[in-house]
């Protein structure tokens, strides 16, 4: 094995022979795109080496607390992960993809006693991490390119989220920026969070409490909460902070325009110049996109007309009050929304830090310390309360460094154990003998297949929307139809879906498929896309991605373009196999590339027999079969 890695790293072996797979003798130039290695995102802020020791100490403490739990509940911890299973899990769960053969080799061959911690740090400081975390938040925050209708453009917000992950912005600051954002999305992309629930002020509060506090108050929007203690009045008091948050300019408010609907005016003027023109399509879109702006209006919230409880009357104005604890009083220098944001993201808010600590634990282990993780109540108990308390405390002490928290979690022995090999009933406390066995997410499968097929796919970032402001921003009172037509031209050329297609077609498509990491594709994807088939969310509701199987998925793995693409000349795995000097090395390379382990002797025998019978096409059959195993799909 050593010999193979060495040969590949040194790049000594150059195409010793022709590799069949049914290709003609003089194969055409590969159709598989290759990335340059440049990633437009900029440098990732690396994890701090100075806090590495502390992270290790906390991880050890957590393991001690978990050990006590195992003893108390007579749980036997799972086996520790071998190096090869560890490297696979680390790449998948931190970077969102399987490791390349070189990466496996480098890790397995290293004799550094700290190599696991080093790999965790390296991955947490990589572009892969940004991509993987973005996928997580895209599911939680229901990110859509055009959230409410086609006129809203949200991509600057999505770029901003990636940037916040890249610079490791403190989590409380990140949330605070979203909650207090004002302006148009291209001027202040954090406004995208508020835009997502445009015109749904009451639901927006329900959503943010679920996402940022792990608590569900939605039932109380219409009546006192039947299962938790929230009353409808409390819901309204909480929502009243948010009720003046507007996302659109209207004729009445004279905010962005003073003379009636700007689109009607511009259409009329356009017709005067060109009687044929309709002013529909992109013309209307770029004008309407300017109507979306987050701003604050004084707007009292009243109890509903059918309010039925004794503690208030229908149509009565409610006062502002958070659902628990206390908050400042809004005034001339602090809008209600700023007060709410300060309350929500405060270190003393008992659920804000706890929620994200529990979420990050769940993300790593497949189960929260508190379950259900998104319905935390006063009486909710963590399966190991001391662990959750410690994580929460660490998070607060690090000023909400969520990446540092993940570093601690990944550093525990518990996370570095094999997954539990039987079903876990989440209605019962789980004491974390190891992570829950999970199928890869849709994004992990897609990004892993891409890793096997395409060189440096992380180079294919989504065309950026930097510069959109200078093009699209308009004064709605003054803009002339000619101004708008100029905007339409530039918008079409640079920022439309058509422009994006043009770029990706030339750069990174294969048989009509855009080959880019899942984080660099449009959102939501059409329902027939590979990612949707494997469970990517449609972005309608909070965290609705899935990991369950279906017959359609199996058909796609059997026959889909992406499976067959990697059997083509020019794919990463094809070239890797080509470079290996002997059948034995080739089989090692295939198994390590796909399953991150060498073949067992019985498997080697089967594979060799196949290759003897089918010649070089046999390698293709082995690759295809391995990608179709459950071992490939599940994270052990």
């Amino acid at each position: 094995m050593r010999k193979l890695f060495v040969a590949i790293f040194a790049g000594l072996m150059i195409f010793p022979m022709q590799f069949g797979l049914g290709q003609p003798k003089k194969p055409p130039v590969s159709r598989v795109p290759k990335g340059s290695g440049n990633v437009e995102w900029g440098k990732v802020t690396p994890v701090d080496p100075a806090t590495s020791k502390h992270a290790r100490e906390v991880a050890t403490k957590i393991d001690r607390l978990l050990d006590a739990g195992y003893r108390k509940h007579s749980v036997t911890p799972n086996e520790a992960l071998s190096d090869s299973l560890f490297v696979r899990r680390a790449y998948l769960e931190i970077g969102g993809r399987i490791p390349l053969l070189e990466e496996v080799g480098e890790f397995i061959q290293s004799r550094d006693a700290r190599k696991r911690d080093n790999l965790i740090d390296e991955l947490l400081s990589s572009h892969d991490y940004i991509s993987h975390m973005f996928n997580y938040w895209a599911d939680v925050l229901r990110l859509k390119d055009n959230p409410i209708n086609n006129n809203q453009i949200a991509q600057p917000y999505h770029d901003w989220i990636k940037d916040s992950i890249r610079t490791n912005k403190p989590y409380d600051k990140w949330v605070h920026e979203m909650l207090t954002a004002e302006g148009r999305i291209w001027d202040n992309p954090a406004a995208g969070f508020i835009m997502r629930d445009s015109n749904m002020e009451l639901d927006a509060v329900d959503n943010m409490v679920q996402v940022w506090l792990g608590t569900q108050i939605g039932c109380a929007q219409c009546h006192d909460h039947p299962f938790d203690h929230w009353t409808q009045k409390e819901y309204y008091e909480m929502a009243s902070y948010w009720y003046g948050t507007r996302t659109r300019s209207n004729t009445g408010d004279k905010k962005q325009y003073t003379k009636g609907n700007p689109l009607s005016r511009l259409r009329k003027e356009l017709k005067a110049i060109d009687p044929e023109a309709t002013g529909n399509g992109v013309f209307a879109r770029v004008v309407n996109a300017n109507l979306f702006e987050v701003w604050e209006q004084k707007r009292p919230l009243k109890l509903p007309h059918d309010y039925q409880y004794d503690n208030g009357k229908p149509h009565q104005v409610v006062s502002m009050k958070p659902i628990f604890g206390s908050a400042e009083t809004p005034g001339p220098d602090k809008t209600p929304r700023e007060v709410l944001a300060a309350w929500l993201t405060s270190k003393s808010n008992p659920r804000f830090a706890k929620n994200i600590a529990n979420r990050m634990w769940r993300k790593a282990f497949g189960a929260g310390l508190i379950e259900p993780f998104d319905d935390i109540r006063n009486e909710s108990e963590a399966s190991n309360p001391e662990v959750l308390a410690l994580l929460t405390e660490e998070l607060i002490n690090s000023n909400f460094d969520v990446r540092q928290l993940q570093r601690i979690i990944f550093g525990t022995q518990a996370w570095q154990r094999e997954s539990t090999n039987k079903d876990v009933d989440l209605s019962q406390p789980y004491y974390f003998p190891g992570p829950v066995l999970r199928r890869m997410t849709a994004e992990q499968i897609w990004d892993s297949l891409l890793t096997l097929a395409v060189y440096k796919p992380q180079s294919f970032t989504r065309p950026s929307m930097d510069g959109l402001a200078a093009v699209i921003d308009m004064d709605l009172d003054k803009a002339s139809p000619k101004d708008v037509l100029a905007i339409v031209d530039e918008f079409n050329e640079k920022y439309s879906a058509g422009a994006e297609r043009k770029i990706t077609r030339a750069r990174n498509s294969y048989k009509g498929m855009t080959l880019a990491r899942a984080s660099e594709l449009q959102t939501p994807l059409p329902s027939e896309h590979f990612l949707r088939q494997f469970g990517q969310s449609d972005r309608e509701l909070i965290e609705t991605s899935g990991r369950t199987g279906s017959v359609s998925q199996v058909l796609t793995m059997f026959n889909g373009e992406i499976t067959h693409m990697m059997l083509e000349r020019g794919s990463v795995i094809y070239d890797t196999v080509m470079k290996a000097p002997s059948t034995r090395d080739r089989l090692d390379a295939i198994f390590y590339s796909i399953l991150t382990r060498p073949p067992r002797s019985s498997e080697r025998e089967v594979a060799e027999r196949e290759i003897n019978a089918s010649g070089s096409a046999g390698f293709g059959n082995v690759i295809w079969a391995l990608i179709n195993t459950k071992e490939f799909l599940f994270i052990q």
Partner: protein, 432 residues
Amino acid sequence: MRNTCSKLDDVSRRNFLESLAKTAWGVSILPLSESLFTSSAQAASTLQAAQKAEHVVYLFMNGAMSHIDTFDPKPGEESGGETKAIQTSVSGLKIGEHLPKLAAKMDQLTIIRSMTTETGAHEQGQYLMRTSYKMIGSIRHPFMGAWLTHFEGKKNKDLPGSVLVGTGNRHPAQGYLSAAVAPAPVGNPATGLQNTKSPKYLDEKNFEKRRRLISQFESNFKKKYTNTEVAAYSDYYSEAVRLLKTPDLEAFDISKEEASVKEAYGANRIGQGCLLARRLIEKGVRFVEIEQGGWDNHNDIYDTFGERAGQLDTAIATLMDDLKQRGLLSKTLIVLGTEFGRTPKINQNAGRDHHPGCFSTMIAGAGIAGGRIIGKTDKIGKSVEDGHCYPQDLNATIAYGLGLPIEKEIFSPSGRPFKVAHEGTPLKSLFG
């Protein structure tokens, strides 16, 4: 995952629900109904074999379809909005103007105006409609298509027992039942089931060889990991292989239809979905669920409502005609469901909000006596006045029509007893 009731056993959960219905909801939103809490023991569980439906086309209106603008119009009331009522083919019965073709077929269909449910949250409401059970963290319940395959077996052994067209990830699918009765999801009816053609070089012999390789390479993993989801993939593999070998696979390909037929159904998701459903049912698929989105009309409801409802109207009417012509309507139940209704009050954004208090569904086809409207809402469409029908009652009705054993207790792998339609009572009067 929500486990609202998971920590309660079944008896205390029942009590819990009862007490809730008497307090929180009972006051004005959900008056206590007999049907939810009384035993369905008095209900006969099966129809005569001759009347039994063999198939279901279930149309799910995702987002919560406004009852007032479709099957329960309130002309002359402020709550009625812009929607006018039109005369149907049955004298004295009127429905919303956006459904003229269904109005003309009123004599063949039954409308239930007294639907009422427990939640105004989409995900939970959809789950309840599809399974008759509340959504909880510890178990996933089966939807009706899986029950049907479970009890009756497949009609065509090579095709899936049920097919989902355009439904989301959180569809409960087969729940805790075996993956062998799992539905096959189709994202887009126009593209059908994808990736059913192997590349040219991959002949059948070669394909078999590759399959053998898979099982040899994964035997260790399968032995070690006995988790349900791992085992489920084995079922999906077998099903995929059966599918690839049957000529009936063509049923998934609507491009085989004449352009005029496609046009009659409508060049949109719901229309093409109904056409796909007819092709599948013809070849023996038992249950097809088609989802149409876009009904969550919080804003500017009348901007798009007519168009969407029009597509639905055309799709169902064409499906009924087509099935009838092929002798299949008498064997197929057509059901239209949604998770809840929308508020009588039109909000400041010219939309309607969530309203679990009442909503409408429609049922037609096999054994269903047409020309009827079941239940009644008040003057403005806010509360049910008569004949409360809960999601579990609607499901019991479908199960009854299919001849499924409604009272039989089925035990989940964790040993908990469940029934096809929970404690629902079938509306037997709907049948002929």
